[in-house]
Symmetry: D2
Amino acid sequence: MMNIRGFASDNNAGASPEVIRKLEEVNQGHVVGYGDDPYTAAAVELFRKHFGQDAIPYLVFTGTAANVLSIAAGGSPFNSVFCAETAHIQVDECGAPERFTGCKLIPVSTGNGKITPSMLTKHMTGFGFEHHSQPGILSISQTTEMGTLYQADEIRELAEFAHKYGMILHMDGARLSNAAAALGLSLKEITRDAGVDILSFGGTKNGLMAAESVVFFRKELSETFKYIRKQGMQLASKMRFVAAQFIAFFENDLWLENARHANTMAQKLYEAIKDIPEITITQKVEANGIFAIIPKNIISRLQEEFFFYVWNEDRGEVRWMTSFDTTDTDIENFVKVLKKLLASG
Amino acid sequence: MMNIRGFASDNNAGASPEVIRKLEEVNQGHVVGYGDDPYTAAAVELFRKHFGQDAIPYLVFTGTAANVLSIAAGGSPFNSVFCAETAHIQVDECGAPERFTGCKLIPVSTGNGKITPSMLTKHMTGFGFEHHSQPGILSISQTTEMGTLYQADEIRELAEFAHKYGMILHMDGARLSNAAAALGLSLKEITRDAGVDILSFGGTKNGLMAAESVVFFRKELSETFKYIRKQGMQLASKMRFVAAQFIAFFENDLWLENARHANTMAQKLYEAIKDIPEITITQKVEANGIFAIIPKNIISRLQEEFFFYVWNEDRGEVRWMTSFDTTDTDIENFVKVLKKLLASG
Amino acid sequence: MMNIRGFASDNNAGASPEVIRKLEEVNQGHVVGYGDDPYTAAAVELFRKHFGQDAIPYLVFTGTAANVLSIAAGGSPFNSVFCAETAHIQVDECGAPERFTGCKLIPVSTGNGKITPSMLTKHMTGFGFEHHSQPGILSISQTTEMGTLYQADEIRELAEFAHKYGMILHMDGARLSNAAAALGLSLKEITRDAGVDILSFGGTKNGLMAAESVVFFRKELSETFKYIRKQGMQLASKMRFVAAQFIAFFENDLWLENARHANTMAQKLYEAIKDIPEITITQKVEANGIFAIIPKNIISRLQEEFFFYVWNEDRGEVRWMTSFDTTDTDIENFVKVLKKLLASG
Amino acid sequence: MMNIRGFASDNNAGASPEVIRKLEEVNQGHVVGYGDDPYTAAAVELFRKHFGQDAIPYLVFTGTAANVLSIAAGGSPFNSVFCAETAHIQVDECGAPERFTGCKLIPVSTGNGKITPSMLTKHMTGFGFEHHSQPGILSISQTTEMGTLYQADEIRELAEFAHKYGMILHMDGARLSNAAAALGLSLKEITRDAGVDILSFGGTKNGLMAAESVVFFRKELSETFKYIRKQGMQLASKMRFVAAQFIAFFENDLWLENARHANTMAQKLYEAIKDIPEITITQKVEANGIFAIIPKNIISRLQEEFFFYVWNEDRGEVRWMTSFDTTDTDIENFVKVLKKLLASG
């Protein structure tokens, strides 16, 4: 078991100290359970401040839950859900979307994690044909699982495409903060204003302990969601402690500060290695993830000192994620070891 | 929105301060996510200390999840699950067990929340008959939703009954600590040693923030559980923070201290009101809940000052739960107001 | 394996000869599959003739499918379905409703298989309360599984009750023909006109081979049903052969003739045994089923000569069903053996 | 609505006359329902004669049901199912597999409908990793949806591959008869003997009315299947009428005769058009289906006289299926019209 620092995932980091302090702060006296408390009300207000007054947020515990319950709310079991073949819902949720919603997921090959309308056109068939799962949801990730970003215009174009075909646009925003920070746009500009219908907005990967959310931008889609969340086993009895995390997140723009820091660290790492001839950066470094092909023979030795995941064994492609608590020293140490291994390789 | 003290539920209380302190303590540096970290390992060891070396615990976020995933692990969709008609799985989980597991729940009328073998006998039919859901799981709650307790012998008898018919014995131990405290027995004596196969062991109602668990006492039932938990959207990425809560729970016997306190407060309340002629206590007060019929005309006025639930509107039956943070003053104030209302009633 | 005549079930009989002839008749040339053929169109017209021009019928293979898919169309997974504790959906479908729809079934104790509004009142709670399955469907059987009948007024009253609480009224009409025949009312009068929203209308128990249907009386409930039927694995590729059975059913009022005959045979059996002192008839004989308590010691000997089911082993209660092909001789032989066994008892 | 002859699908044909005759023959007297009757026993024996004495067949109504229930029997909800991207379970069952089983389907790009081990290798990862659906089932179609065939050796190789990775090999044999006829092998040689674990064996596309089956070659996989079939709404009450169809199918080798005829007609059509320069045959013609690219401008005019499906609108690719009742005249007329349209095109 490792307890060393690393670049494995933004959830190997702990929580921002402000979050723990906020938990302590709300831990006073009795409040009604299950969300009918002043802290949850305050969190809802903060969501609305950032996502617009008509945003309807629901808090849950995990990112998988946010995604799966979004699909359950936005579709019927006979619907298909289009997503990148690298999407979290496709490869990292053990089939939870299928099990809970009954929907069919249709993976789309993208290269860089970003779907474009032209990739979807050939799937826009079979409407009304009962033999085929009916196109129901387009799900995109922002930032993508490949560390890349959708521009606001690209999202708008996808929303228009989805809506033209009667589909819902869902966004997996587990790393939405990093996208907003990188694009210099508000959370609202790249979600509600760009046509997103249902958003999974994550906090855990950006400095919270265990706090995620489903945010609806269309009231009619949210109307039975409280039952779906309960059936999805995601209704917190002591909701104030989930709410508190989001309060800390929004207060003093912790979400933005954390995300900016992680992004900056990724850029720093990128700058430090981009010219190393033995290393090929395989995706644009737009947020807090770097994908790179490195000599296979140094991978395991590098992992002995810094934990990270191999993305593609065949190609020798690895993924390095930075987080809100990555330090300059982390980067420097890492690059130092990396270079040493390459030299001795 | 109320922020007043009350007797609504043991989850209107916050968390024990030790829990927040432990969160702070584990919030250091990087650890691997999803449970492969030293804190989770430590929590597992503590579970084993209390439940036996062969106990296999999995951490989850909610009590509903612990129950539903227990059923998913212990049964097949064509199985029936027998439970008290007052059981949490039957009345308080919005049908989550049916939705996630496909099983049929068969409620048994009990009066006091406790199932006996004789109540089940008539259901022990149709084995091998494909038209009938096949008896698969017996689920009991300890303490029951009516505030009553099973003696260790009663559990053993139910386990023998269940096993004789090829069923699994599941225990919903959302308030197991209160039972152990009241019975003066170890957690192991009223679970594993009494024949329980799968246990939902709760922390949240007894002073944790959001930490529950599924504990297997038969290895073969647990073998695919990690996938079930993931599909159940209950795999914490920053698992250390769920583990930390259980570490605090077991350290210095916080679980026992909290449960004892809640039980003591219930007894104190009971003693203060049991001889009031206008009040009829409807269930044995064995743990931390009191069920009582009180004059209907004072219920809403009493609720204005102390939050609690009406259990049965017709009968004027109410439920008062005490918790780890109920104080002598809470009891005294409550009894004072109660008596005043009865006098003026 | 028995091949003897008996009173086990109306589906131990074969099919009316007219049905086989109709299969032969439609077995000519090519038609489009999956229901877009002239025979299905003709069957739909016949349904509309009997159930009203706004009836929307869908053909399926089994009665369990008709019921389960009706529930899937009329409810959401977070809904509860109220039914008699003797209902087919509760006791004879191996939990298929729960598995396919996710809904919670709530059995209501009735004695004679008939639900009344007063039995439901206590369940009409928890609306909007996310912890509780939301009342969504009231499902009644006509005729009931106890051989009894709802009068048209009783159905109307239940429909009003259901609609008042925002619920759908579903009728399991596996033996609807027998009810219409016994009541001297049209199929429409005891379904659409009485407020039924979704009907399972059965043919198999009344002389068809394998042909059942779901009939919608509210268009908006049917709008996605074709996908539900397909997902429910009930879309016949060679639909003409299911349609043909219903064409034969409606032509020359075969449905009515068959049902009347079965009812008459039940009355005949009833008349022949009602005054036998050792026999207690336990339910009103209103359609084609008789429930009776007979001396336990003769049950198995009687079963050696005529196949039938024991309904309640403890009480010595048995069920005798007559069918479209029961003959006077069947009744006479049966009564003769019964009396002989009682005499020798 | 068309009633014209065509090449749309082998289920636009009716049933072999022998099938109707057999229905008439078994329609005598009473037999026990749900499969405990002499006709079902006889059908089971015939299955064993063709598939081996250890084959365990279950009868169902639809091909979708046979596939979906096979997956339910062979996998758990956390399993993935690999299939060709053209597989019936992937594109023609409206997501029924996902809804009923909860499994994730992973489509594999093949070109000709045939999977090879090398296409699967990259998916053989993540075993034991709870984030990923666990590889559980490999499902292949024989004949494939592209009209092509697996050789017995190719199946064996896939079975070995599947078993090496702990997966089950499922075969969708909706058109297995055509494959056996084309290969000149017995049904057993291309299923059980080649390593298939669970088989969907179809009758409907080859001259039956509505009769399909699930055949297990490993007893342990079948042990709870009767409950799965019932929950899957596929248990026929008057089972003798499904059994009768299979009796007719196996008697006098009707299955083989029908399949051979359909295959021969496809070859005949192929011979008649293969040298037409405006037509490109896109798949090997190995069984009873032909895929061809034809000039787009004649497609709809050709469809006015003969019903068939466009497979790929962009390419102008169409599918022509022959069936047991396709006649020489059908072929001649079709080719005549086709040539006329091409000439006038």
